[in-house]
Homo-oligomer: 106 residues x 2
DNA sequence: CAGAATCCTTGAAGATACTG
DNA sequence: CAGTATCTTCAAGGATTCTG
């Protein structure tokens, strides 16, 4: 979606999608099961949750662990690389905090 | 688009849109005129460029200066608050640089 | 030159039903 | 429980035309 013209295009491509950021935010809280994420992120649909998790997995941000049991048991967690997104989140949050006083100014 | 559940939702809402990031990236290079941005961001459409610039202006990221001349002359530049986005860009870029070695690992 | 207004296309997201 | 497979919807984005 974002041309490689822009240096940070890849990061934003990764975080793209209505739910992606919220999913990562949930996983920053630790290991979660599929159903657990579904409930926390309600009313996200199964389809979207699956799609986004797969995309994040492919990008090396999320690790998927399957336990061969019946009923099925799948766990999702951030990889070390994914954990490093915390820094970006913190930077964004800091930026937002200066927003109220500065928007409309200058 | 992004629920306020997520602390950084507002920043990503702001950078949302296929071209937004690229526009900000251009403006990090200094003051630009409308037509100048159009050429740099080719093949962006007038409609989208206008829409995104208005959104950024509303958020206090971009300042629009109109010179009442004929032909019209409009300049766009980042506000101080907008300039601070540089930090976020730098953080993202740093994160991307560690991507190659880490994706697929763990 | 810098747009406003209009119409059209496309794809992400949502709803629903089914399954190993 | 954790998906996959389809079908549908809706809004962002794109193309085109017109104007102060």
């Amino acid at each position: 979606m974002l041309e490689s013209t822009c240096p940070v295009g890849r990061t934003l491509e990764l975080l793209e999608g209505k739910w992606t950021l919220l999913i990562v935010n949930e996983l920053l809280g630790g290991v979660k099961r599929f159903g657990q994420l579904r409930r926390s992120l309600h009313p996200i649909s199964q389809k979207i949750l699956t799609e986004r998790l797969r995309a994040l997995e492919e990008r090396g941000v999320v690790k998927r662990t399957i336990y061969s049991e019946i009923p099925p048991h799948v766990e999702y967690q951030l990889t070390e690389h994914g954990q490093r997104l915390r820094t970006i989140f913190a930077t964004m949050k800091a930026w937002e905090l200066t927003a109220e006083s500065n928007s409309r100014s200058q």
